[in-house]
């Protein structure tokens, strides 16, 4: 089967039941996407599949076949960070940092759907777990990212 990862189309002839997460981390060596629960509950493994935030730990390769996958490693354009990444640095969100790649991928998708989310919309749409409890800064960073995107920061 073929999948496209960060713009590069690759062949995969392994187990079709294997979660995409393990392909990304173990085969493609893209370590930014994290393993947290293996059951789609924590969101540490969030990547974009055809532009939509998806939990790769419960996405078998058979489902990923033929799709375009984007991981945290491809979010910035060269040295230029995505506004969500930039906002994360400005608000100094991360503590241990382990969940943050998944959080960022989820927020990028959220802002594409809802460019200026209210707190209620953030609550309803962000279900990724941060065990360090960085939610206070994370919420501020979502609003900041919306601001950065809105002002054409990334154009």
């Amino acid at each position: 089967m073929q999948i496209t990862v960060n713009g590069e189309t690759v062949e995969y002839d392994g187990d079709a039941d294997m979660p995409l997460l393990w392909y990304l981390r173990e085969d493609a060596k893209l370590k930014g996407t994290k393993f947290g629960c293996g059951a789609g509950l924590c969101g540490a493994c969030t990547v974009h599949i055809d532009g939509k935030a998806t939990r790769s730990c419960v996405t078998p390769m058979s489902v990923a076949e033929g799709t375009e996958i984007k991981t945290i490693e491809a979010l910035a354009e060269g040295d230029k960070l995505h506004p969500v990444q930039q906002a994360w640095i400005e608000e100094d969100v991360a503590q241990c940092g382990y969940c943050q790649a998944g959080q960022i991928m989820a927020v990028v998708d959220l802002l594409e759907r809802i460019p200026n989310p209210t707190d209620e919309e953030i609550d309803a749409n962000l279900t990724n777990i941060c065990r360090c409890g960085t939610y206070y800064r994370l919420r501020k960073a979502v609003h900041r990212a919306a601001e950065l995107s809105d002002t054409g920061w990334f154009s």
């Binding site: 393990w22 370590k31 990444q85 241990c96 940092g97 990724n128 065990r131 206070y136 994370l138 919420r139």
Partner: protein, 752 residues
């Protein structure tokens, strides 16, 4: 620029040299096994990582500062580097940071000791332990650079200044950068001098808010964690562990597992002897494979019959009943001031309440993992561990290796710790498997492994009683606790010592009430137990601060006023437990008053809302919090705001202190809302985050304020202090909103 309290001479701590043209402040080298460039975990290139540099200044002007204690989100990579950078005199923006590998050596007495400094992360000690030595390391580097310039220009070092990475001789208008001076500085011989340390009023970095050094690496997905590491030739192992406490395997059918492509071997791991100190936690079978996926599938294919062990009758309900039964009897009196019984007989009013704490799990988001490479004469470990020396010790133990210096440890960044990774059982597993298969092995735990085989925060029932005289003075106080102690599998420790992990008798209101008795009942449980962020402070803060509120309510007194009159003014009381030797009740009163003022404590709240307050002294730090809640008619709870006041003396990184305060609040809230480990039939039944429901953003307070007290007390840490006051402040707020008193945790559906 005086150093009044210099405890370590430069000679005892530091050495320095020029390595590849760079000035490197380090300690005497010992063998640290093979170089570690093989790991995927990224490091600044070309650094002699096995040398463990505190400071490396390279000709290209880059400055690398090594931090000794593992980084798990508590911000030591930044805060510890600030200590060095302050004394060194460099722009902190230019500083790169790097985790130091474990440094051990054989001391003069022939015993193993630290090569550099203690390197564990636990007990909020990283700042207090490194406050002087890391500043000395930076100061020594500065002295060497200044001396190098003095010799080059043939002037006295006294005429030179070092600032922002440049040494200047004002009189002759000459200057040279640290990078230009680095090689020369490495060759300077200073003799036995001690560096002066910068005094507080001249700090330029310490006390200023600094952002986390690894923020960019994190947001771009750079490999940093143990789980990201790989070494060539590494095999993968996933272990099927006995789910029953102290259970064993009765039979196993490995055939289906071995038939899976990529599976190399199935290896039995024996349970530690009953009652003996643990190395691995549980009996199990490791499936070793070429890939992680093959190992996972192999484990799924194992058919194992487990013997359920001696604790198969234990459940959450049976353990709670056991604790309640114990409290009906007489326990071990561990503190007995005055005459509590007589005081209670004479009291005008007496109060009593029981409180329950469940077992809870650490659940760091990065599941346990470790790479161990056992070779003929050396062992190399790469692991996310809070206690790298413990990884070294446990591997020496399970492999029966005498020369502990032949075992090198490369700690990675941790995807959360919270005390779980003070235990290195997962490293022991990887060592046993690597030795057995003769290849480097990475053990990977899954989430159910982690929830079942944690070292849980102890569960127990607290009973509190207090008496007041007719004038309203607190005259008697007792705390009785039945719990299974954190001291798990400690055969060399008498059971009469178990209380020390669960009760801190000098805690408020200890030493503030004449008739004071603390009593412990050691309950039996098969559940593995260990240190969980702020260990017993979480339970003790909850019960004491909830009980004080209950008393105030019954007395018709303001809860804040009651606390303040018991605490009284600034003075030094003895505090023998960790965080002492002094507890100053005036400082605790100070944060209470500050939090109350900033949080509007005592203002009238709208219908359905409540505002609660609580405080606690944790490991040398004083924190009080005011929590606002709204509870709707269906019992839906929302935390609207948390306002905290923090007194931890000298602050190193206020941004980091605020982050830890915010994280502690959310950890305390998450745990109080829904978290409990459920036991049935002698095993943990929680398997994943559906049944261990960590808080998400929707429940997190949208407003958190952190007010930091400025004073001249020496620094305390902040990794744990934000957590203990939250649960009682929350329960007190819920009472204000609803009239419902939370005595059992978690809150769960009690408000419905």
């Amino acid at each position: 620029m005086n150093a009044p309290d210099m405890k370590l001479s430069r000679r005892s701590l530091l050495s320095y040299s020029a390595i590849a043209g760079a000035l490197v402040i380090t300690t005497p080298l010992v063998s640290c096994g093979r170089p570690q460039e093989e790991a995927v975990v990224s490091k600044p290139k070309g650094e002699p990582v096995s040398a463990g540099p505190f400071v490396a200044i390279r000709p290209d002007e880059s400055v690398v500062i090594g931090f000794p204690n593992p980084e798990m989100g508590q911000g030591v990579d930044t805060a510890l580097a600030m200590l060095v950078a302050e004394e060194l005199g460099v722009d902190f923006e230019r500083v790169e940071v790097q985790q130091m590998p474990l440094g051990l050596m054989i001391g003069d007495d022939g015993n193993i000791t630290w090569k550099n400094l203690p390197q564990g992360s636990g007990g909020s000690t990283s700042i207090t332990g490194n406050w002087e030595p890391l500043r000395q390391a930076g100061a020594l580097a500065r002295m060497l650079l200044v001396e190098a310039a003095a010799r080059q220009w043939e002037v006295s070092a006294d005429e030179l200044t070092a600032e922002n990475g440049v040494v200047t001789h004002a009189a002759s208008q000459r200057s040279a950068s640290f990078g230009e001076l680095a090689k020369l500085a490495g060759d300077v011989e200073l003799g036995d001098v001690e560096p002066d340390l910068i005094s507080k009023e001249n700090f330029r970095i310490i006390g200023t808010p600094q952002k986390m050094k690894n923020a960019r690496a994190i947001v771009t997905g750079t490999p940093l964690y143990g789980i990201d590491a790989e070494i060539p030739g590494m095999l993968h192992a996933v272990v099927a562990r006995c789910p029953y406490f102290d259970g064993t395997a009765r039979s196993v059918d490995e055939s289906a597992a071995r038939a899976i492509g990529g599976v190399r071997d199935v290896i039995k791991i024996d349970r530690p002897d009953l009652g003996a100190p643990y190395d691995v936690q549980a009996e199990g079978y490791a499936v070793v494979a070429d890939s992680l996926w093959a190992a996972i599938k192999g484990r799924d294919a194992l058919k194992i019959q487990w013997d359920t062990g001696a604790f198969s009758g234990e459940s959450s309900a049976s353990f709670k009943a056991h604790c309640e039964d114990l409290l009906k009897g007489k326990g071990q009196i561990v503190r007995n001031d005055g005459d509590f019984d007589t005081a209670m007989d004479a009291a005008d009013k007496t109060y009593e309440a029981n409180y329950w704490q469940p077992y809870v799990s650490h659940a760091p988001l990065e599941p346990q993992n470790a790479i161990v490479d056992v070779r003929a004469d050396t062992v190399h470990i790469i692991a996310p561990t809070q206690m790298p020396s413990g990884a070294n010790r446990i591997v020496a133990g399970v492999l029966e290796i005498e020369d502990r210096l032949s075992i090198s440890v490369e700690p990675t960044r941790l995807g959360g710790g919270f005390g779980r990774r003070l235990s290195n059982d997962y490293v022991a597993e990887a060592a046993l498997i690597s030795k057995s298969v003769g290849a480097p092995v990475k053990v990977q735990w899954t989430r159910d492994d982690d929830l079942r085989h944690d070292f849980f925060r102890p569960s127990g029932m607290h009973q509190l009683r207090a008496g007041f005289d007719a004038e309203g003075n607190l005259t008697g106080w007792t705390q009785r606790l039945a719990s299974a102690s954190k001291y798990y599998r400690r055969p060399n420790m008498p059971e009469t010592e178990y209380w020390k992990a669960e009760l801190y008798p000098d805690n408020f209101p200890g030493n503030l009430v004449d008739n004071y008795r603390v009593e412990y009942f050691s309950a039996k449980s098969g559940a593995p137990r260990g240190s969980w962020r702020a260990p017993a402070h979480t339970a003790n803060a909850f019960v004491v601060e909830s009980f004080l509120d209950e008393i105030a309510e019954l007395r018709g007194e303001d809860p804040l006023a009651l606390r303040l009159r018991i605490l009284g003014e600034d003075r030094e009381l003895p505090y023998e437990q960790h965080g002492g030797p002094i507890f100053n009740p005036g400082r605790l009163a100070g944060v209470l008053k500050l939090a109350a003022e900033k949080g509007g404590y005592g203002e009238k709240m709208p219908e359905g809302q409540g505002r609660g307050i609580a405080c606690h002294f944790t490991f040398g730090g004083y924190v009080a919090q005011v929590v606002d809640v709204a509870v709707d008619e269906q019992g839906g709870l929302r935390v609207l705001k948390v306002v905290g006041a923090i007194d931890i003396g000298q602050v190193v990184n206020p941004n980091g202190v605020e982050a830890q305060h915010e994280g502690g609040i959310n950890d305390g809230l998450s745990t109080a809302l829904r978290l409990a480990i459920d036991i049935e039939g002698g095993r943990v039944t929680n398997e994943n985050f559906d049944s261990y429901d960590l808080m998400k953003i929707a429940d997190a307070p949208p407003i958190i304020e952190s007010h930091i007290v400025q004073n001249d007390y020496p620094p305390a840490g902040m990794g744990e202090m934000g957590l203990p006051p939250l649960a009682p402040a929350l329960a007190n707020a819920i009472f204000q909103a609803t009239g419902k008193r939370i005595r059992d945790l978690p809150i769960g559906d009690q408000l419905a």
